[in-house]
Every structure is written in structure tokens, then in C-alpha cells.
């Protein structure tokens, strides 16, 4: 909270100053355009603006949209949403010590989060130390979630309903990369504060890792004193694309308080696999699938499942590259996302029948990129969501239109 206040105050103080600066002095930092960038590089691979020779660069993105969705004939009508305003501040403290922060305002000011605020020390390309508020490297989306990089208005359901994207915590860790010919190998591992017992005790009435984001104290103290381990290895080839394998696990309950035993340690473990590639046809494909196991007490209620899984598969096909409305080299894409999430994979004790609590979603659409930093998107979403018991699914569908742009 203090850090966010500091950043806000700094920005406010800087604003009148920058107003007097000749805008021609702003320059965009160069982005890495090699084909060996990984999802883990996303935090630094953003367009930043720097002023003259100041060591600080700033940036951010904004996304807003309109949607009209209906569920089984009931609609809330036209909705205009300010999804996110995100500000980045980066600083090169010395050649091998860097600072980066990301402050996000979600749904107006409903959620204000420091999603990233860390200092990186490079000892060797294979050995970097990162500390502060870090994004836990589980899956790819959590690391690489900037709106302007995606052709879909909504974040993937699995990334926000199984994984708690964007999930970041206070902690420390190491990362490194090794380049060899057309290959790059990378790893990341962190120990951070973790989840709490809200993951099996929440208003969603199901096992729900994102519920722990409601714990405002997690940037100040660990819920149970046991660190959350997050680790990822990734490999990328210039031709074949990138594969990542990641793990996140820890203890979510308070098992000890003032030396008194309250419960046994209850663990959760999440594994994720992600892949992205560009086919020779220019088709971009990205996918991420995740499995979570949670040690739910057998005397609790099966509404809170001990296993859940799901993921998404995106296909983006550029169909037009031309001058549109005066935007030279703009790109029009045809896109489609398939999503599946099962919040409760298991069988009822009482009947032996499958516990459902799942959703299938298909999101076709088009996106137009007047430039690389800006995307205008039109999506049509169709969801089939089935309740715990497997009753007829509720159907939701409708159009979404909006933009997302770095600035």
C-alpha cells in the first residue's frame, strides 16, 4: 500500500513537470524483436517512454470495452467497462541492476494492485536474483497478460478462475536463460507468500484459488508462515515455438496459531503447461492447460472439489495487412478461442456420478491492429455452464467490442 501511494505521489508530482517538457524529447525504448523472447520476458518487453537521458522509463496500457451479453434470455443490457489502466515505471539503476513496477487499476478503481515491483540483480545470464512483488510464473498468461498483446477482450477463464491471474506476491527468487543457436532455455523459481483458506471457503461456493486475492494482508504477512514455491522451466526454438512447464504449491490453511495446533497442514499443488508458436502460414497459436489439486478435508463438503483443471486454445490468423483508415501496415486478424474449465473433477460420494461444475466456451472474433501497440477487438462469446449436479447448462452469449493499447 505504501509503495502504491509512493508511486501515485511520484506520478502526480511528475505530471506538471513533464507537461513542460518538449515532447520531442520523449523516445520509445527499443523492443526486442528477435524470435527468442519467452513469456518470462514479457515484463520488460513492453513499450516504454523515456525522457532524454533520464534513467527512468514509463509506460502503461489501457483497455475499455462495450458488451451486451445475455444468459438464458436474461440480459443486463449494454455495459461499458473500463477494464484496466496499468502504469509501468522502469529504471536502470546500474547496468545490471534494474527496477520495474506495474500498478494496475482494474474496473475503474474497484481493484488497485501493485502487480509487480521488483529489483533484478544480474550476476550471470544464468543467475539473476529478483526480489519484491513478483508475478508467480505459473502458466504463461500470468506472466504475459498485458491486454494489448491479446486478441480477446476477456482474459481466459482458466487463467482467472482456476489460476488467479494476475497472481503476484512478495518474495524472492532466481531466474536465468541460456541461448544456444536457435534455442533458448530458461528457468524461474520463487519463494513468496501464498494462498489462504479462502480457496475452500468463499462466495463462489467452489474451490477457487483467486479468492485469496481478497486477502489484503498478503503483501505484508504470510497467512501461515509457509512459503509458496513457484517454479517454471521453458524452452524456445526459433522455428517451433515455446513450451513451458510450471508448478506452484504450498500450504493454504492456518494450522498453527500461537503455538496451538488448529488443523493439519493442507496443501495445494498446481501444474501448468503452455505452448505458443507461429506456423509458416502466419497463424499464431497459443495454449495453456492447468491442473490443481487441493487437500480438502473429507469431512467438509464436496462442493469444494479437490481437483480442477482446464485451459484455453487460441488461434489468430492474420487475414489482411494493408493501409486501413490511413493506418499503414495495419493488420486484420480472424481469431477464435476455445476454453474449458472443470472446477470440480470428481464423483459424488452419494451416487458415484460425475460432479460437473464446468464451463465450455467458444469465442470467435476479429481484431484489428492499426499498429503493434494497439488492438481493437470484436468478439462473440458463447458459454455453456453446467452446475455441480449436471443440470441443463445455462447458456450465455453476446458481443463484446473494445480496445486495448499501450501508451
Amino acid at each position: 500500500m505504501k509503495i502504491s501511494l509512493l508511486i501515485v505521489v511520484t506520478l502526480v508530482m511528475c505530471s506538471p513537470t513533464t507537461a513542460q517538457v518538449d515532447s520531442t524529447l520523449f523516445k520509445r525504448t527499443q523492443q526486442d524483436t528477435s524470435k527468442l523472447l519467452l513469456n518470462m520476458d514479457a515484463v520488460y518487453n513492453r513499450p516504454f517512454l523515456s525522457v532524454s537521458k533520464l534513467p527512468v522509463a514509463v509506460g502503461g496500457y489501457v483497455e475499455a470495452n462495450w458488451q451486451h451479453l445475455g444468459t438464458d434470455g436474461v440480459s443486463e443490457g449494454h455495459q461499458f467497462q473500463m477494464k484496466r489502466l496499468t502504469l509501468f515505471i522502469a529504471s536502470t539503476i546500474s547496468r545490471r541492476i534494474k527496477f520495474l513496477s506495474e500498478l494496475e487499476f482494474e474496473d475503474g478503481t474497484k481493484e488497485i494492485n501493485i502487480e509487480f515491483a521488483s529489483i533484478d540483480f544480474e550476476f550471470h545470464p544464468l543467475l539473476n536474483f529478483r526480489g519484491g512483488i513478483v508475478m508467480n510464473p505459473i502458466g504463461a498468461f500470468n506472466q504475459n497478460h498485458d491486454g494489448p498483446k491479446w486478441e480477446f477482450i476477456d482474459r481466459p477463464i482458466s487463467a482467472t478462475q482456476l489460476l488467479p491471474a494476475t497472481w503476484s506476491n512478495v518474495g524472492f527468487g532466481l531466474y536465468g536463460k541460456l541461448y544456444k543457436n536457435n534455442w533458448v532455455y530458461a528457468y524461474e523459481t520463487y519463494l513468496t507468500n501464498g494462498f489462504d483458506d479462502q480457496i475452500i471457503s468463499n462466495s463462489e461456493n467452489k474451490t477457487f484459488l483467486p479468492a485469496s486475492k481478497l486477502n489484503q494482508d498478503r503483501f505484508e504477512e504470510s497467512f501461515n508462515g509457509v512459503p509458496l514455491l513457484t517454479a517454471k522451466v521453458a524452452i524456445r526454438n526459433k522455428k517451433f515455438g515455446e513450451v513451458g512447464l510450471s508448478y506452484m504449491g504450498g500450504v493454504y490453511n492456518k494450522f498453527l496459531e500461537d503455538g496451538l495446533v488448529l488443523d493439519e497442514k493442507r496443501r495445494h499443488r498446481t501444474w501448468a503447461i503452455d505452448f505458443n508458436t507461429i506456423l509458416p502460414s502466419g497463424t499464431y497459436m497459443t495454449t495453456e492447460w492447468t491442473v490443481t489439486r487441493v487437500d480438502v478435508p473429507s469431512t467438509y463438503i464436496q462442493q469444494y472439489g479437490n481437483k480442477q483443471w482446464g485451459g484455453f486454445f487460441d488461434v489468430v490468423q492474420p487475414v489482411l495487412r494493408k493501409n486501413i483508415f490511413g493506418f499503414e501496415r495495419s493488420v486484420l486478424n480472424a481469431v477464435c478461442r476455445f476454453e474449458y474449465v472443470d472446477w470440480n473433477a470428481g464423483d459424488f460420494i452419494e451416487t458415484g456420478d460425475n460432479i460437473r461444475e464446468d464451463i465450455v466456451s467458444v469465442v470467435p472474433g476479429i481484431s484489428w491492429r492499426p499498429n503493434a501497440q494497439t488492438v481493437i477487438r470484436l468478439n462473440y462469446r458463447y458459454n455453456w455452464q453446467t452446475d455441480l449436479l449436471g443440470n441443463p447448462p445455462s447458456k450465455t452469449s453476446g458481443f463484446q467490442f473494445g480496445f486495448s493499447s499501450y501508451f
Binding site: D72, I200, F348, L389, G390, F399
Partner: protein
Amino acid sequence: MNRKTIFAGLIILVVACEEFQPKAPQAFELLDGPVSGLTEAENLQFLRGDVAFNDEVFTAANGLGPLFVATSCGSCHPGDGKGHPFTTLTRFGQIDESGNQYLNLGGPQLQHRAVPGFTPEDIPPNATFSRFTPPANTGLGFIDAASDTEILTWIDPDDTDGDGISGVPNWINLKEYVKERPNSVPQNGRYIGRFGKKAATYDLLQQTATAYNQDIGITSSFESVDTHSGLVLDPEVSNQTINDVVFYLKTLKAPEPRSESNSILEGKQLFNTIGCSKCHRPEMKTGNSPIAAIDNKVFYPYSDLLLHDMGPALDDGYTEGSAKSYEWRTPPLWGLGLSKNSQGGQYFLMHDGRARSIDEAILLHGGEANQIRNNYQVLTADEKTKLIQFLESL
């Protein structure tokens, strides 16, 4: 693609977007929704009750348990329909009208689930028990508003008409917070119960406050004793919320019959001729109600709200109020055909869900219903099909 085409497309999109959305099911395909004719103020209260009933989830942080059966009202009554074995209740400890002998051992209801760190209950050794599948909520306000006088016209404890049917009310004592209905007809200080498998609950306030307490472990000013500690606790749900939920239940619409094809009409005829309608009485009328939408209205529950001897096969050795352990309240049949939509695409019928089809449920009828079950058994396959089609159309 020129600019005009794009702008025209966007305008069409905004204007016609609802055409691309799922259509609402027909009213007769749903059990939830308000009775028609509510005032605007009543609609608001209905919506508040709807949110409390279907959306409010209890956790340890807002009072769940520590011992419980379910975490929300809607968990047991999905879509306001019948429940699933997942949330079936177990009641134990009473074998006759002398009362429950196990109140100090967790009776009358088993809370077989617990928040982490607590140990749920077990059924005490030697205690008899019965399992109760959660019923549909639909049309409860009409049943609540039915008059004692009409119910009493159907009683025949000594079977004076010789038809084998001898319905009796469950005469119960009122909880201190329950107010008797105007024009109630008590007997020896006891009143006619009309809710629950044994008709041991007087009205929807008692039903709601008891369910919060026994099913979810939530205390209220009406039911203030914690099921785990046995201590009086501060209310964990407000009177306003309970009253809103009661209003919601009172003003849920009655199920709407879904078809009147010839075969269904023939099935209806068979239903009457073989004697089902002697207990599953098609028509009732509400008495006076402060809610105009259910005031003096004819409704079609297919029940007499009385207790009947259902035979030894359905005698679990457990009972409530003044009912015998083999007596069960005639369950309303309205909405029967929509049960699958809330029971996961399957039937779990009779009091404990043991019948997996309507045919099986009919064949489980015994006691006073012996002759009627026999009448059913001698129907042709085609006649049975028509009868079941009729029942599923309710």
C-alpha cells in the same frame, strides 16, 4: 470493406445484438420465477429474497456451521426444484409421538459435514433415522395459504367411506415465534402441520428459520441455538433476510402444466379412475392472504397435505410430530416432470430419493395405497405410459 459497410455493421450489431443471445426458456419449463400479479414493492422484496436464497453462500467467515449439511439455500433446491442425494438430510431419534429421544445427541437432524477443524456428527447407535430429499420450493405460498377448513374436509381417520384411504393431519405444537394463521382450526392446542415429509412444520417462517439453523448452521433471532455447541448465539442472519426469503418462497409461482395432448388427457383420466386423486387431490383454494397474488386463488398441487399410512416398505422407524413412522404427507406432484432439471438429469423420488423413476415410485406405494398401486399394476403398458406422461406434464 469500405467505411460505410463497417459502420452499418456496427449499428446492426448494437441494435440486433439480442438476436444472437440464448432465448429464455418457456415459463412452463422453469420452476423459478414469481407468481404473477405482485406489486412493484413486492417485486423488490421477491428479488431480495431471491438473492438471499440463491446467491448468498455461507462460509466459516459469515457463520457457516461449524456443523452443517449445505452452504446455501440454493445448494439444496437448485432452480427451486427438488434436491439431489448430495444434499439429502438425515433426521434421527424419534420413533413415535412421544418426541425425539436424541435431542442431547445432535437430534433431530444430522449435520454430517463440518468446517475444517471440527468433527461432524454421526448417527447415534440404536437411533432410527430417515433420509429426506430436499423438496421443490415451487408454489409453496399457495400451500401456506391453503385453509385448514379445506384440508379437514378430506380427513377420514376411521375410513368411514371404506375406500381404504384415511388421511389425518399431523397435529403439531407451534414454535414460540410462529403466529397462527387467521381462521386456523386447532385441536387440543395443536395445529395442522403442512410442510415437510411428515408435515411437521407449520409455516414457511418455521421452515426457513429451521433450515438456516439445522441445514447451514446459521442462528437467527427465531432459531438462536447453535447446533454444535447447544448455546444461544448472536443472530448470524438478520430478521430482514429471513423475512425476505419467506416472502420469496411465498411468492414463487406454481408450476405450469406443460401439455394437454390427448394421451396426457387420457393419462389424467386414468389418474382419477385408478384412485390416485384420492390423496393426490388436484385442486385446492387458498384462503385470505395479505399478498393479493395468492389471495383466494385456486391452485393445483395434487396433494391433500394429510398423512397416510404408506406401508412397511416405507417405514424407516423415524417420525416427527404426531405422525406414525409409517405415515407420510402426500407430496404435491406439481412440477414432477421438471424434477430431472434439478436432480442432475435423473429422478430421485419418494422421501429419500430411492425411486429412480415414476414407475418405481408408484410401485413403492403401500399401506393405504395398496389397492391403488394394484390398480396401476394391471394397466396396460400403453396406459401406464399415458399416466406417466400426465404426471410428467404437471
